[in-house]
């Protein structure tokens, strides 16, 4: 006996292990399979006949909407990669994942569907690529570990200048895209040449190692980075940090250096101990400047701190 094709096809559509949605030419939901129902927690009965953007309001005006437009009106299919779109649909593996908005990682395909005698429809397929995303993250982390060995300063073990340049570029782009603040500290050990001349280069190196270890230990957030910028100069990248927060951080770092209580006979500071001067530059939210301008401002602020008598911090706004 022949199996009736239509009910069979509908059952297969429902059973396939990808998210599948069909819209008519007015973007009403015509089919909504079990995978979608399970992960969106919206049953087919709730969404059939509804406007797609009423069902998924977050997708209005975005890349998925454009892909639907291309399929329905231009007859072209679209591919939406996880990398460029993250997770457009609000789909979750569990209630717990939904509660913390931990979405299934998605790759989406939107394809036009032609039907004889009917206006064009479109099929949206959502693939769960969470496993591939996790695998790639692992690969990248391992590459980062390998890279960090060539990104570390040979003497102090903290990030080197190359690492700083890469991190700076990344954080600068991120700040620009997300419209967040970005602060940069330039730190210089006061009268370090005199220290070297007086105590010798081996003591000088010891001093650099101790100061680098103590100051980099002050940074707690994963995005913060302290690098040896050159000689006795260090740079600290503080993403998402405004000028007040950066000043507080700089002051804490300055105090931490003093706490080390490393003797320094040839300094001008009354304590006769190793101290640091710090220049601060902050890029305001939504007002990005060039990287060079940010570094230049931090440098000038550092120079100002030196002129103000050293063992202090100074801030300048880049322009």
């Amino acid at each position: 006996m022949d199996t009736p094709r239509l009910p069979l096809l509908e059952s297969v559509f429902c059973a396939v292990n990808v998210g599948a949605v069909v819209l008519d030419n007015e973007r009403r939901v015509v089919l909504w399979n079990s995978w979608m129902a399970r992960h969106s927690r919206l049953a087919a009965a709730q969404v059939l006949g509804q406007d797609f953007f009423t069902v998924c309001p977050g997708l209005r005006g975005g890349r998925v909407a454009m892909a639907i437009q291309h399929a329905l009106y231009y007859n072209f299919p679209s591919l939406l990669s996880q990398t460029l779109n993250k997770a457009p649909f609000a789909l979750y593996l569990s209630e717990a994942a939904a509660a913390r908005d931990d979405r299934i990682q998605q790759a989406v395909e939107v394809t036009p569907i032609s039907l004889d005698g009917l206006p064009r429809h479109c099929l949206i397929q959502v693939n769960d690529v969470s496993i591939a995303v996790a695998r790639e993250r692992l690969l990248r982390e391992q590459a980062m570990v390998l890279r960090s060995q060539t990104f570390a300063d040979g003497l102090t073990g903290i990030a080197n200048r190359r690492h700083f340049d890469v991190a700076m570029e990344k954080e600068h782009r991120r700040a620009k895209r997300t419209g967040t603040t970005l602060s940069l500290l330039m730190i210089d050990i006061d009268h370090f040449k005199a220290y070297n001349d007086h105590y010798g280069h081996q003591k000088g190196d010891q001093c650099l190692i101790q100061v680098a270890a103590a100051l980099s230990g002050m940074l707690k957030r994963p995005g913060d980075l302290m690098a040896r910028y050159g000689g006795e100069e260090f740079a600290v990248i503080l993403p998402d940090t405004d000028v007040e927060q950066a000043s507080a951080m700089a002051e804490a770092i300055r105090a931490r250096a003093q706490e080390l209580a490393l003797p320094h006979e040839r300094t001008t500071d009354a304590t006769r101990q190793v101290t640091v001067s710090i220049g601060i530059a902050t890029q305001k939210a939504g007002a990005p400047v060039e990287i060079e301008a940010l570094i230049g401002s931090a440098d000038r602020a550092l120079y100002q701190a030196k002129r103000n008598g050293r063992n202090c911090v100074a801030a300048l706004q880049p322009n």
Binding site: N75, L79, L84, A107, A132, R140, R173, R174, K176
Partner: protein, 207 residues
Amino acid sequence: MLNLTELENDALIEIFNIGVGQAAASMSAIVNEAVRMSVPSVSFIPRAEAARLLGHGEAPERICGVSQHFRGAFETDAILMFPEDKSLEIVRLMVGEAVPLKELTDMEQEAMCEIGNIMLNSCVGTLANIFQRELEGSLPQYHVGTSDHILTATGSLADSVVLMLHIDFLLEKHQIHGYVAFVLDISALHDLKEQINLYIARAMGQA
């Protein structure tokens, strides 16, 4: 070989600039940063010559390609192509990723496919619009290899003609040059030329 009049040539450049302009706007929206694209020139060349143009130098350079098949008013394989190192650069600029690996990972290849998909849909969509005809397209496919390998991967014949667009892609001070190739057989070539002339005639108010 097909020779275009200056008018036909200008019309094609204008049409494709509208197309890549739309693609650039879509990409800007994705990355929330200004992406600019333009088509400074187009040319018709035999397929073998197109492969040489891309693979300049002694050692054949590795090229990344994203292809889609289109059919309707005319039939063509459209392929977006960049030298491999440039496609690494584009994807990483688009993604904002700081840890470069030697080759595009699977996820990055998929992102490259999406970039190609946006470009090719926009270019061909503009053509279809302007020709007032409908085309249908396939999903994008990713290729990597020599230019010859990529141009033949789509199954085109050796005597096919390639309509080659030079693409300038500008993102965050990086300027990257690439190509979009439309592989056309003789009949597709004539269909295309006919459509261009219909468009010009309409634009001149003669139709």
